[in-house]
Symmetry: C2
Subunit: 273 residues, 2 copies
């Protein structure tokens, strides 16, 4: 994701320094861009919008798989509002770009979904690693994909999610190479944030979770892992999107990769201790 | 340590089920035995007794090195009492066995140090891994050295302690092999217990902290580490004893290995969250 471009833009644009500002920016039709680096300090979320007939099943899936699918917001049936995440928030207009799915295939990538909206849709906002990455960086823990200006590497694993009806499949994880001391500290820090993936699901030994080659991620970009580092793996918000695609629902909408929903919640407020 | 024997004994002996009971048992002259498994649920501590002229320097050493040397109790000069750890507690009589040191050499291993006591001595009680091991076991995390009925393996590392006057030298660590998932959970659990060594100081890759062969511990017994496990390393209470020996003080007293001080504190009460 072009995080660097977004960060470079944000300081000069006061509107992009809060979740509210970012939502209004895109709502007014700004050219889409990844949201990494925008609204620093504010929680961003993955978005999944499903017909009500599938929403109960999906909520059950999320409940059973809180590490990859922590639900931080839910809309009422037919409503694009999630007041708990932002007073004026509108799921139809506030993200830079969306993906519209039919039968498991992407049929459109619009910047506004008002024309796709239906009165049986339910919106799910799912926590995102941006929040815990902020906490890691504030603690002085360097993140390789930030240093390299690329996307975090993500892998499909042999860890099966707990199934719920049509929703099942492998857990997707993100990986960050860390020194052993930083890995221990990162486990402590991310444990405080269960709503944004929480503690890692695995550390070291990628082969134990079905990852054959760290240099070949299934999503995102490869980053080098030093001889003096351990790969540390967190549950990833790509999991619900991958599971929704595999379920081949007649209709669904998600955010486009990297184009998250900015909220009014502060990252720090998600810490449970 | 003959932990199994001690555990087998304890259930039949109500006196050995509390810290107070264990202290009185040894005070009355019971045959010395390791204290692992005695007074379950109660904090046990490493003991170091130093002349007052060295005590300030040693306290500074402990303060600078809280991972291996967490001080949980201090006596007044010349007093064998530590009321914070037990009302009737007497450092001179309440441990199964002691080591008396002169110029860095062990000169006696008595079961009572009343005849060695001096009015310039200061007692230090230092947290012990028994407390966090109880929390790990209660969480369902198996400990290899418990399964095998042997002592935990301990290693001198290339991690230098922060020096304080005469006190300096390598950190000694204990090692427990854990699955990656158990390692992550163990980091969470032990982080709650900073007074008994706290979070690990290292994980995986023993060579990075100067350990050449896990099968050859410097203290304790080797245990196998599975291909699907990571070695996890905690600061160890042998560090202060090793540092005291290296300082070649004219006089010092410590507990004998495995023969700890049982206190009235509950392990659970040490959790900071």
């Amino acid at each position: 994701m072009a995080a660097t471009a977004a960060r470079a833009l944000a300081p000069g644009n006061a509107r992009l320094k809060s979740g509210l500002g970012v939502r209004r920016f895109f709502r007014k039709g700004a050219a889409p861009m990844p949201t990494a680096g925008l609204a620093p300090g504010y929680v961003q979320g993955n978005l999944a919008i499903l017909p009500a007939e599938a929403a109960g099943e999906f909520l059950r899936f999320c409940h059973l798989n809180p590490k990859p699918c922590p639900v931080i917001g839910l809309s009422d049936r037919g409503s694009p509002r999630v007041p708990a995440l932002g007073e004026d928030l509108d799921l139809r207009t506030d993200l830079p770009r969306y993906r519209v799915w039919r039968d498991g295939e992407i049929v459109a990538e619009p910047t506004d979904i008002r024309e796709w909206w239906r009165d049986d849709l339910v919106g799910f906002v799912i926590g995102c690693s941006f929040s815990f990455e902020e906490a890691l960086l504030q603690d002085g823990i360097p993140l390789r994909h930030h240093e390299r200006g690329c996307n975090v590497p993500m892998y499909r694993t042999s860890i099966e999610t707990a199934p719920a009806g049509r929703f099942h499949g492998p857990m997707v994880v993100s990986m960050r190479p860390l020194s052993p001391a930083h890995a221990i500290r990162a486990i402590q820090i991310t444990s405080r944030f269960p709503n944004v993936h929480g503690a890692p699901v695995h550390i070291g030994k990628p082969e134990l979770i079905g990852i054959r080659d760290l240099a070949k991620p299934d999503y995102g970009d490869a980053v080098p892992v030093g001889e003096d580092e351990l790969p540390v793996f967190w549950g990833c918000g790509v999991t619900p999107q991958s599971v929704i695609a595999a379920a081949k629902l007649p209709f669904a909408i998600t955010h486009a990769p990297g184009c998250m929903l900015a909220t009014d919640l502060r990252n720090a407020s998600l810490a449970v201790i």
